[in-house]
């Protein structure tokens, strides 16, 4: 039984990954866009490093965690949109009439998203090193950055799948995801929380789980091995993955039951 599940999972993951690879219009912006924004931010906000208490000498170094989060959001949009397309074209209905295990359907789809995120993460690390970024946690830290990105992609991908399964519409998935980008901006994305002067913004950033994910990733780059920041970031990322997978698998069961 487990072997069959693994074969099904492998086949569907391969399909998901190849499908993503065959869409350069999906991959290229999801890699280029975060890097472009990083370049713009780094040049535009470098003078912020002169603020007393700013934790890095270079804004590029400080902001280098941002593409990892943005990249996972792009990967998750792709996951949600692809699953919605499977619903719109009837592929999911046909698949659900076969003996394929529902877990294979969901995890297979998300495996493609995770693979895309790892590809993005590796490119980001490579470009960062070329640009002169020094990852304080070393090579292991760079590997952990990519793995954390994969974990986040699993979580956000789960949310993308949930949206796709609930709405059955790629347009709806694409329409809701900008809200996550809004959530990203309302976090400690651009400045450390203790340097945010506006009270309401600092409160929102403190309540926003995305702040802890960013701070966890950022700690590997600018601090080294900071157990508290990293532990909190990993806990939030695992929590997101568990919530995303639980909700999307419940939504898949409902959709299959309807079929």
């Amino acid at each position: 039984m487990n072997r069959v599940l693994l074969i099904q999972l492998g086949l569907l993951a391969r399909r998901s990954f190849l499908r993503t690879l065959r869409q350069p219009a999906t991959i290229i912006p999801s890699v280029l866009f975060p890097l472009l924004l990083l370049g713009v931010n780094a040049g535009g906000l470098d003078s912020v490093t002169k603020l007393p208490g700013f934790p890095a000498d270079s804004y590029l170094q400080f902001a280098f965690a941002i593409p990892f989060i943005q990249g996972t959001l792009f990967a998750a949009i792709s996951a949600g949109t692809d699953l919605a397309l499977d619903i719109e074209t009837g592929f999911l209905n046909r698949l659900s009439l076969t003996p394929t295990h529902p877990a294979a359907i969901l995890l297979g789809q998300l495996a493609g998203t995770v693979a895309l995120a790892m590809l993005q993460g590796s490119v980001f690390v490579l470009v960062g090193l070329i640009a002169g970024i020094q990852i304080e946690a070393g090579i292991l830290g760079a590997v952990l950055l990519v793995l954390m990105m994969a974990l986040l992609a699993l979580g956000f991908g789960g949310i993308g799948a949930l949206l796709a399964l609930r709405t059955g519409s790629g347009e709806a998935v694409q329409g809701v995801f900008p809200l996550l980008f809004v959530g990203l901006f309302l976090s400690s994305l651009n400045l450390p929380r203790d340097l945010i002067q506006t009270d309401w913004f600092r409160t929102v950033a403190t309540l926003n789980p995305l702040s802890y994910m960013i701070e966890g990733l950022r700690s590997l780059i600018i601090t080294g091995w900071d157990a508290q920041a990293l532990g909190t970031g990993l806990a939030v990322a695992f929590g997101l993955a568990i919530i995303g997978l639980s909700l999307s698998s419940a939504a898949l069961s409902q959709r299959i039951a309807r079929t």
Binding site: V40, G44, V48, K50, V182, F185, N190, T198
Partner: protein, 258 residues
Amino acid sequence: MNVRSFMSVARAVAWRQLHNFVTSPPLLLPSIVFPLFFLLAFGGGLSSVGDVPGFNFPSGYTAFQFVWSLLQTAAFGGVFTGFSIAMDYESGFARRLMLAVPNRVGIVAGYAIAGVVRALITGTVLFSVALLSGMNVDGNGIHLAGLITLALVLNVAATLFGTGVALRIRSMQAGPLMQMPVFLTLFLVPVWVPLELLTGWIRSVASVNPVTAILGAGRAFISGQPSGSGMAFAVVAGLVAVFGVWALTGLRRAERAG
């Protein structure tokens, strides 16, 4: 007679566009929410940037960011108008419209008028929220009129750019071609700090980006110390002229395509 038909076409197209905009939440809400979000995220989240040595904007960081958000609203209003034209082509409405009207330049004018009214609506909401959040406005009525005029002329330029792209591609696939250049142009300016505080390649790019002159003049208007306004108005007028030709040649191309 020609002027009457032009006006009647422009009015009808503008009315339809605005009716769709106001009665369709998927069109209305993003136009209002995104500029507000940028204002809150940048004006609120980055307010300590105002304490950076060398940052001497007299009206405070919210006013500094507001001008960029207003210009962003105006420019993206134009891009969204381009989207509407592309959607009209996908639905077949635009082709029927081209067959029905005696003066097709009136179609472009109608879209441009709708774009301006749309920018006025979203700009008013943005201004109100900025004032409620405690933004300082040190400029007088004339300065504010200058700022609003700059934003509206930029909106016309962006509408003409979007129209030119939409009339050439005649499909929603033109979306990224309209959005990306405007997005990049708007971010490759001194968004968060004055030009003097930018570093590296972005400073070089921002120095030659025409939107930098518009942004600088807008910020000077809101702080009540106008400077560079002649250059800024010359730049927006130039953009309208260039993109006007771009839109009209796009219209001719669409006519030839049938």
